[in-house]
Every structure is written in C-alpha cells, then in structure tokens.
C-alpha cells in the first residue's frame, strides 16, 4: 500500500527526514513512533504530497506521489496534526464540503455522510457548530472527514493528542474498528497507544527509521536475556552463591527487604529457567513467595532504541 524508498527531506536549517525507506502492506495497522521532532509529521506530509521531497520516491496504492498527486490524494484519508477544522461551520456542512472536494458523487454524498457520522458517533451533533464541540468530538469530526471518501489508506497524525483518557479510549476503539476495512498508518509519541492499537511498529528518530517490527519481536531483539525476580527467605550470601552455581544465570541484584525476605534479581538466558530456580528453592528448603519474569515495557524498548542511537552517534 505504501512504498517509501530513500526519501530525504531537508528544511533550510536541518535535515528532517534522512534517507528513509519502509513499506506498509494492505490491511496493516502500523504505528509510527518517535520522540517529538523526530520527523513523524514531515514523513506524513511527504506521504500525502503536501510537502515536496528532496530525494527518493513514495508510492501509495501504486501511484507515485510526485507524478500523480491527485490519484494518491483520492486514496488517502489524512488527519493532519491537531485536527484542523473550520470552527464556524456546522458538522454536517463541513462534512458535505469535504465530501464534495474529495469527489464523493453528489448522489452518494448524503448516504456516505450519514454512514461516517454513524461510524464516528456524530449522528447527534450534525447540526452543532464545530467551534462549540469538545475536543473529543472535533477529533471525531476529523476522523469522519478522513473516512468520507472511502480511502484505502488512513494516515492519522497523532489522533489522540489533547484528549482526556475516556476520549482517548473512544478514539482508539474507533480506530480499531476502522482497521477492519482500511490500511492505517498512525503516528504518535504515546507508547500505550501503539501497544493498544498497532500490529507493527516503525520507530523513527532524528529523521531515520531505527526499527521496524512487531512489538514482541522488538522486545526479543533488544532484550536477549530475561530478568527474573525472586523472593525467598534465606541467607543472602549463600543464596546468591547457590543461584550463580546453577549455571545459565547470574544474580544482578540482591537485597534484604524490610520484612526480612531476600529479593533477588536474576539475569538468565530464558524465562524457562524459573523451573530450575523453583527446584533449587525446594531442594534448599527456602520458603518462596515470588518468582516472576519481568515484562519489558515498550517504553524500555523505545528508550533503549532511541538512546542507543544517541550513544552511537
């Protein structure tokens, strides 16, 4: 659906996007993740043909963005950053205006608008003036607009920014529903969002794609070893010695908790080593109350990837 090859975008003062390439297949939901200022919005603007690129080539649905911009725009539903709308217009009026600009045939327009309003939960507010709607509703109007011409691809730039937690959940649910019919590229700097919605993650940092994979694969690649936490009632020096002696694992951290129990943080090749630890505790007669594998959050992964590059530069 999207094919980006070797795209570079320079602004007068800096290089915003530096020779990036990636592909998005039909039907995928891809999260575009990166710190603020990493080049997410610029990349999306390049995709929609809003900004010209300095080098490279972008294809959307088989059309070249530079050579056939109108064909590309007909196939993209784009929600720009901050969801720009005309505050003085009514919701229906705005959707009619946008549908007509995007070439929805007059005969189909009414039905199509009713459909997207239904999808986005706007049926009740059709007559309301956009400027008087809450941020959550405005975001939905933006989404309805991006859907109205039945695009193959949805490009959503930070669709939940500025919403309250309840509204965020609603918009996410909506996006998940949309994913059944559309290919979605979604940018955000909120990690939970990507975890909640996306199948695949593209991480961009300083204008470069630094990772592109599913969430689990990213974790696996970055965290070759797993960390196991264990709480037992035992003598610290003895316990550490015994665990290290097991092989395949070593104690990274050990400390005595306030209630006298001993807490161990163990690095091991695989989480399956927990069985060995259990057997050890039974054999040694250590009371055991906790034995868990630490879950890596996407946050850790993200920080590791972007920081890692930072150090390498």
């Amino acid at each position: 659906m999207i094919k980006v090859s070797g795209v570079t975008k320079k602004y007068p003062a800096r290089l915003a996007v530096d020779n990036i390439s990636f592909e998005v297949a039909r039907g995928e939901i891809v999260g575009f993740l990166g710190p603020n200022g990493a080049g997410k919005t610029t990349t999306m603007r390049l995709l929609t043909g809003y900004l010209p690129m300095n080098a490279g080539r972008i294809e959307v649905a088989g059309f070249d963005v530079e050579k056939e911009p109108h064909e590309v725009r007909r196939r993209i539903g784009y929600l720009p950053e901050n969801c720009p709308l005309y505050p003085e217009m009514r919701v229906d009026e705005y959707l009619r205006f946008r549908a007509s600009l995007k070439g929805v045939r007059p005969s189909a327009r009414k039905a199509r608008i009713a459909e997207v309003k239904e999808q986005c939960g706007l049926t009740e507010v059709g007559r309301r003036i956009i400027g008087q709607l809450s941020k959550g509703y405005r975001q939905r109007v933006g989404l309805a607009d991006s859907l109205v011409h039945e695009p193959d691809l949805l490009v959503l730039d930070e669709p939940t920014v500025g919403l309250d937690p309840f509204q965020i959940r609603q918009v996410r649910e909506l996006i998940k529903q949309l994913a059944e019919k559309h290919t979605i590229l979604l940018s955000t700097h909120i990690l939970q969002e990507v975890e909640a919605i996306c199948e695949r993650i593209l991480i961009i940092d300083n204008g470069r794609i630094v990772a592109s994979d599913t969430e689990e694969n990213l974790h696996r690649k970055l965290h070759a070893c797993s960390i196991i936490e264990m709480e037992i009632l035992a003598d610290q020096a003895a316990a550490v010695g015994k665990v290290d002696a097991l092989g395949g694992m070593n104690v990274r951290n050990a400390s005595e908790l306030a209630d006298g129990w001993l807490w161990l943080e163990i690095e091991s090749d695989s989480a399956a080593m927990r069985v060995e630890l259990y057997n050890l505790a039974v054999a040694e007669g250590w009371p055991l109350r906790e034995l868990t594998e630490q879950q890596h959050s996407l946050e850790d992964t993200f920080v590791k990837i972007t920081q890692g590059k930072e150090g390498g530069r």
Partner: protein, 250 residues
C-alpha cells in the same frame, strides 16, 4: 469545475456569514452615504450637474477608503487557513491550487461588489429628485463606466490583498501589508499625477494613479489601455499568489 463551485460556495458562506464582514459593510455603507450627502451639498452650492454621477463612484472619500477596506476583506483568506491548519487539510484533497486561489478571489469580488450596491440606490434617488426637463440624468454611461472602473480597481486591490494574505499566518500582518502597498500606490501616484513639477513624473503618475483612472471611468471614459493594465495587474498578483501557496507549505 465542481471543485471550484464547492470552494466558491464555502468562500461566499464564510464572507457573508462572518460578523467581521458586516462591520466592514457597515462602515463602507456609511462612507457611501457620507459621500452622497457631501455630493448633495456640492450640488446645492451650485456645483455642475455633470459631476453628480461621476462622484457617486469616484468621490475621494470612497477612493481613498478602498486601500483600507479591501485588505480588511482579504486579510483572512489565506492567513486564517494557515493559522487554523486547514490549508494543509485543503491541499491534501484533490484540489488544485489555482482553483483555490480563484475561488477565494471570486468570493472576495462578490462581497466587494455587494459593498458598492448602495451607489445604485443613490443614483436612483438622484434620478427621482431630478427636475423634469434635465435630460440624461443620471448619466447612464458614466454610471456604467464607474461600475467597470470600480470592479477593475477592486480586482487589482483584492489580488494584492490575497497575495499579502498568502504570505503570512497573521491576519493583522496581511491587512497592514495590503494597506501599506495599496495606500502607498494610490497616494503616491496620485500625488505625482496632480502635483509633480517634473512633467515626466506627472505623466507616470497619470498612467498609474488609480484615483485618476477611477475619475476617468466614472466620467464614462473606458480606456482600453487602462483596462488591459488592470487585468494584467490582477492576473499577475493572482499568479504570484498561486506560486506562494504552492511553494510556502511548512
């Protein structure tokens, strides 16, 4: 074509459904009223009747208020779209930049022409007040000439204002830029035309002063050179606006 119609419809709604438009309309209509009252005063003091129709369109009160009024109409056209970010939303739909620029121009022109409507009412009043036996009053030729001239000058002013609005996301900057350019032009060339000592400079002033041109038009003189000059002016500024909108994106 249908895209253009959609865009124009939106522009017209935005023009006529905004409170700012009615403020502008109120003041301009007050000025046309003031102009008419002043004109009646002149006539009552024995001023020649031939001036009566001419000054309906080219009274100095009106001519010199246009450089203020037009930027007030045009300032929001692109600056507001930039500020709201809706320009990005517009230009990522299958809209062509020239369609957008022309729609905004046509919308502003329509509003501008509505501003001038009261003048025809005053012409009608003149006609009714005119004692029987005075033929050809109001002078329909002069009225038509005045209308053509007003539209031409308006087209150029609106095109200038549109260019100014496309350059910034700040409406005040757009308005002041347009005002400075238009007022400088009108006043500068008019001063040259009427009071330069150097005959060459005086000629240049006469060629370019829109005040002088409006006086001629309102007398019923439609000079094709001036028509071509104004159409070319407007076309050039519109072209420049298209290029600015195409180029200045971020």
């Amino acid at each position: 074509m249908s895209t253009f119609a959609t865009l124009l419809g939106k522009e017209l709604r935005a023009c006529f459904c905004s409170p700012a438009a009615y403020v502008v309309m109120f003041f301009f209509w007050a000025l046309t009223g003031g102009n008419f009252v002043w004109l009646l005063g002149q006539l009552a003091h024995g001023e020649s009747l031939t001036l009566a129709t001419q000054l309906l369109f080219s009274g100095p009160l009106l001519t010199f208020s246009l450089p203020v009024v037009v930027p007030l109409i045009t300032m929001r056209l692109f600056a507001e779209e930039r500020k709201l970010g809706t320009l990005e939303a517009l230009l990522t739909t299958p809209v062509r930049v020239h369609e957008l620029v022309l729609a905004k121009f046509a919308g502003a022109m329509a509003f501008y022409m509505v501003l001038w409507l009261p003048v025809f009412a005053y012409a009608f009043i003149q006609h009714r007040l005119c004692p029987p036996g005075v033929a050809g009053f109001p002078d329909l030729g002069a009225l038509a000439g005045g209308a053509v001239g007003t539209v031409l000058v308006g087209a150029v002013y609106i095109a200038v204002g549109l260019l100014m609005s496309s350059l910034t996301s700040n409406q005040i900057v757009a308005a002041i830029g347009g005002f400075a350019l238009l007022f400088g032009e009108t006043l500068g060339f008019t001063i040259l035309a009427y009071s330069a000592t150097n005959p060459l400079m005086r000629l240049v002033g006469q060629y370019y002063s829109s005040f002088a041109h409006l006086m001629d038009f309102a007398r019923g003189i439609i000079d094709s050179r001036i028509v071509v000059l104004y159409v070319a002016y407007a076309a050039w500024f519109l072209f420049a606006t298209v290029k600015v909108v195409e180029g200045k994106r971020a």
